[in-house]
Symmetry: C2
Subunit: 735 residues, 2 copies
């Protein structure tokens, strides 16, 4: 097929929501005012593990301005569990910060006052904080219906691990740790809920409205269509707003208060609401002398906190992602999500991958060093080829890994720069099985004035999905972007979409809107063909009109012809399901990077002088958008590699503020920061796009620790690389 | 095609909105509360015709609680005219009650107080009240950009009228008058408008939201998609809420007030907002001795009030409807909508027909009496046959008129009862060209739980459209009604629909939802065929599942198969345009009736003892619903025949309350009241339905005056038949 010049796809168009965001008109959940809205606040457990012996809310209820106080007693008529957690603490608390009661009042100040008047009798229990405490033989049981603190376990097997190690020339075994980190979206979790005779309406900063709708419906015993989720703009997500968080609590409070209630978290509260799984990864890999990987065994422990949230899925992903994008004939990996008495861990950009790829890519460099091989050569030797299987039950590798690595090597000038005297340069590669559940449905509706109203359930959290979808539609219909309006997700109005996350929207919702646009296009061509008296295939769409030779019929005129007057509309709809690729994953997300750094040996401070990132995006619908995603991901990676760590002491999170929890700032951006997009047009999405935005995250930590090892001779297996840790390690080496 | 047993269509199912209406949960515009909503009131002109020399609103603006006062000065940046009327009076008022200013305040009481503080300087002008005054040679010019007070004129011609009369054996000429009447929907006009940066939202008791949207968009210079009309339940419409009434005024007030504003009319205010056109009809008909109609000339004057509203369309319809459903070779009719200084007349059930068919059907009986023919025989002789043209440019008669009349004759026992001694029984027939603009678009969306969300822009004003649409969809998909949810009209969400009126929704929106349901059905059959490994035509839909032999796949299972998980949705859409019947009208609406009455000669009081109505409905989707519509229409007809008349004295409407304006009550329902539905399944709608609900109105007045003439020997040509008028006429006769 000849490559038609693309006019919108592949262009750096202005963000369709740019003006409303920079002028402050964009509405986030916290901006909304609902008639009669009350203000809510949550009373949270001060103990990491305790029984609730009684709650006396009477003084709080009597405070003037307090409308309702919610406790477990108020949800006894519901099915109060979702994703393994209760709407509000039932008889027991399992982490500091767990909601125990909630107040709805006429303003925030009254609600805060009321919290202080609620008296809760706790009976403290021994707490299991951290993986070791939770896994110990006599560890306190966090969920007493179990016999241990294992939340989920995934096992992946291939070949025969014993045989694999027996056939190996060299065996490497290392244990790596990865810290608890927090997403820090600019907007903390915010929810407004209203529960009246007609049903439930929830405005929330939720990434997956249809899933939250389903959970709320189950809790309150309603048909999903009686629950309406309306999602304004999100101020960042990164997975912190995936799945159902405390929406059911706000709904229950609104039910009791008989009026809408809003609860907006502070950052500190959101840090206790969700985080990334801290991990310990024991990795044992057997290789041939020539660098061929033969066997890999992994034991991965993920600290999932007091409740499951997305823990089991993270374990499932981790057990696969620890394998890297490599051909390994013998595999035995086990990943465990472990309950601990701390805030729940859930989804976070590239779930399970940063922890495990840190281990895998660090060890690959350990192997390369031992075998005297160039790290890039070792990767190239072992990369899966296109179509080749990583492990059973997953679709084979669908990307050209070698081409990405060669691009990285070339762009970063690896061969020259990594060997320079005094250089501290490392590289790493990552591949994650992405796309999540491939169900998306969309509608495009052509109005008599020639504009298109797009109904798509993707949630805009800054990643630019509304712009990308507009570009895809503009290209298909040959319409300027100004004529295309994408609204927010609203489960009553926008058709079903599984989720916004796992880098899936460009490929999956993009395909749904592309199909919807094609459906509409075919209807237009049919009208054009009738008017022009030709076959539909002889008609072109150009700039909002249909053309055939000298004849021209604008979309508006086509509508007027079809409907005989100034009204009507043409609707195109499209849906996508598992047929898009057959087996999962929908696509493999590929990210690779090189880091060059310098250490101040007196202070241990590491400066990343240069970072080069390569993302295999298939087709960059919006190149600048992709680069922004990649660089943002890299910065997040620098965060968990260099600075970020949530510190629990005695079950208390001691650094729950942005002063004490160190996120990267603009001064931490590497002096030289380059991103390249590889476009082989081999993804399953429109124009051959694959998803991206997570791949750039996973290579950062190992690239940096590999650089440190290569440049300074120290192999650090624990993150973050605080100056203290680096300094001590360097000193140890000198001894 | 074999007649499959229908399970939902043709059944008297429970109204889908019944429970919410009787329990008071149903929301009407006046029930809605929008955050920060202000209360508005309109200052209305006390003069029928005057110049506005100045408005001083300063004292009103200073009243505490007043947020904004709107006058013409505030709309100088808009295109302030729509349907010939201004958003608010500009320099001149043309009827008592015309909006001159409007106040938005924190509550209704403050708004009312503020009205009294607005000082308007008027310069009274001579008023033209009533047709005679407006048509007089030196009549005051109501719209000074014209040279007379003619608002609209329609001329219909066929053959050669002079020749026609020359060929006639007998010529009849009569003049009839029809009163000004008011619709009296239980809910007066109510509007809430909000104008902010994102656009305009209007909640209104409007029947045609897409048309109102277009008008508002034009006035304020916006794209229609920036204007959102949300329509809750209407408490009755009957045409009083067709087209744009004072929504633009409320929008302008909201714009000035910088917040949402609600204005709800009182009944008295609504009586000044819209009414039916009073009429004078001069009818001259030439016939052969054997009763064959040869020529008809008509001169129709319609009192359209101070502004056009729907006047020109009423004139257009009147000029045709005066012809009745008869074969007349020579035609010359002229209908004039005439401006007068009174409240505007607009749409009202069977526009232009009650006035003209009163004339036509009265005269038919005058003719029958003169020629010594049975009135039924005279009609039968002259009825158009199916396919025969009434007049140029309109589609031929599409109903079997004779079959309806024969049904009426049989059911009413005309032959026996009309000839009984002392009987006062009359009959009349009407046919109206109905359906309005045939553009309707609908969507049906199948949810994973097996329920259907229906998006259709019809407005539910009590006529039961939501129920009928549900039945059509239930039948097509073999689903119980409980699984089907029809929401209200919302121009942002429900696709384009031209209007709800002119009896069009069952045929046109019904066809759109039927096509949408079929689209969805085809998608389901395709999935079923794949699963069963058969051809789609071998699969049946039965009770929410697909069946083929022993194999069964529920809709939920089909969805799960298609999407591979617990999500997704299937969308069906359908649209209908002029192709449905080619030329207009979409269908002819046929209504006929007989009245039997008794007069108390001492008081002139007329009692209607028995009324039999026959409606040709094509197919009764909901038989009880049809009967309810027919009987409601007949009672409205009894209203304008017996009781109702808006009385203007000196430009003032003197009976603008329900005490002084006499609507029919339950005690006026005829002792015997029968309705028959003729179902020839020959309409253009689903299952052969045609529209109904207006036909039953038009035959009432002439059936009653014909009964009076036949039973009491007096021919009254003016309505209403107040006791005084009847008594005087009987006395005159006795002299």
């Amino acid at each position: 097929m000849p490559n038609k010049q693309l006019r919108y796809v592949g262009q750096n168009v202005a963000r369709v929501d740019g003006v409303e965001k920079v002028t402050g008109k964009a509405k986030f959940t916290g901006d909304l005012v609902i008639p009669g809205m009350l203000h809510g606040k949550i009373l949270r457990s001060p103990y990491p593990h305790a029984r609730i012996r009684g709650i006396d809310a009477s003084r709080a209820e009597m405070l003037p301005g307090v409308v309702a106080v919610l406790t477990a007693a108020d949800i006894s008529d519901t099915h109060p569990y979702y994703n393994g957690r209760p709407v509000i603490a039932i008889e027991k608390v399992r982490y500091v910060g767990e909601p125990v009661a909630a107040v709805a009042a006429v303003d925030q100040r009254t609600a805060a006052e009321a919290l202080a008047l609620i008296q809760v009798k706790y009976e403290e229990l021994p707490a299991a904080v951290g993986l070791d405490a939770a896994r110990a033989k006599d560890a306190p049981l966090i969920h007493e219906n179990q016999h241990d603190n294992i939340c989920g376990h995934e096992h992946v097997e291939k070949g025969n691990i014993g045989q694999g190690f027996a056939e190996s020339d060299e065996i490497f075994e290392d244990t790596f740790t990865f810290p608890m980190v927090y997403h820090y979206a600019l907007e903390p979790h915010s929810v407004i809920a209203d529960f009246n005779d007609e049903g439930i309406t929830v405005w929330s900063s939720a990434q997956h409205p249809f899933q939250v709708r389903g959970d709320i419906a189950k809790v309150f015993g309603l048909h999903p269509t009686k629950v309406r989720m309306v999602i304004p703009f999100l101020g960042g997500g990164f997975g912190s707003k995936s799945y159902t968080k405390f929406e059911p609590l706000v709904v229950a409070l609104a039910r009791k208060a008989r009026g809408p209630v809003r609860i907006c978290n502070s950052v500190a509260e959101s840090m206790l609401t969700v985080r990334r799984h801290a991990a310990r990864v024991r990795l044992k890999t057997g290789v041939k002398r020539d660098g061929t990987l033969v066997a890999r065994e992994a034991e991965i422990y993920l600290d999932t906190g007091g409740y499951a949230d997305n823990g089991p899925q993270v374990a499932i992903r981790a057990a696969t992602r620890v394998l890297g994008p490599y051909r390994i004939p013998h595999i035995c990996t086990d990943a465990y999500a472990v309950y601990t008495n701390s805030g729940s861990a859930g989804s976070f950009r590239a779930i399970g991958a940063p922890q495990t790829i840190f281990a895998s890519e660090s060890q690959m460099d350990i192997i390369a060093a031992k075998l005297g091989m160039d790290p890039a050569e070792l990767r190239l030797k072992n990369f899966l080829k296109k179509g080749e299987e990583l492990r059973p039950k997953l679709r084979g590798m669908d990307a050209n890994l070698a081409s990405s690595l060669k691009t990285l090597v070339w762009t970063s000038q690896w061969k020259r720069r990594s060997k320079k005297k005094g250089a501290a340069m490392g590289l790493a590669c990552g591949a994650t099985n992405a796309g999540a559940t491939p169900i998306s449905v969309a509608m495009v509706r052509l109005q008599p004035d020639g504009t298109i109203a797009v109904f798509a359930g993707s949630t805009e959290m800054g990643q630019g999905v509304r712009t990308v979808l507009s570009q895809i539609i503009a290209e298909e219909l040959s319409l300027p972007l100004e004529a295309i309006h994408v609204g927010g997700a609203d489960t009553k109005v926008t058709p079903y979409d599984a989720s916004t996350g796992s880098s899936r929207s460009t490929t999956l919702m993009g395909t749904a809107v592309l199909r919807a646009a094609r459906d509409l296009k075919n209807q237009l061509l049919k009208i054009g063909a009738e008017v022009f008296r030709v076959k539909p295939k002889e008609v072109q769409l150009v700039d909002g009109a249909m053309i055939c030779g000298e004849m021209r019929l604008s979309f508006c005129e086509a509508m007027a012809r079809r409907f005989g007057g100034a009204g009507g509309e043409l609707i195109g709809h499209g849906d996508v399901g598992p047929e898009i690729t057959g087996t999962l994953p929908v696509f493999w997300e590929i990210g690779m990077g090189t880091a060059e750094l310098e250490v101040d040996e007196e202070t241990g401070e590491v400066t990343i002088k240069r970072y080069v990132s390569v993302a295999d995006v298939g087709k960059a619908i919006h190149p600048e958008g992709c680069i922004g995603q990649e660089e943002g991901a890299a910065m997040m990676g620098i965060g968990h590699t260099m600075f970020e760590q949530m510190i629990y002491e005695g079950g208390q999170l001691v650094n729950s503020s942005l002063v004490d929890y160190r996120v990267p700032t603009f001064s931490d951006v590497p002096k030289e920061f380059h991103t390249l997009l590889v476009e082989n047009e081999d993804g399953p999405g429109p124009h051959g796009a694959r998803g991206m935005g997570e791949g750039g995250l996973v290579s950062v930590a190992p690239a940096i620790t590999n650089a440190l090892a290569r440049g300074y001779g120290v192999r650090i297996r624990d993150l973050p690389l605080t100056p203290e840790r680096v300094w001590r390690t360097l000193r140890e080496k000198k001894k």
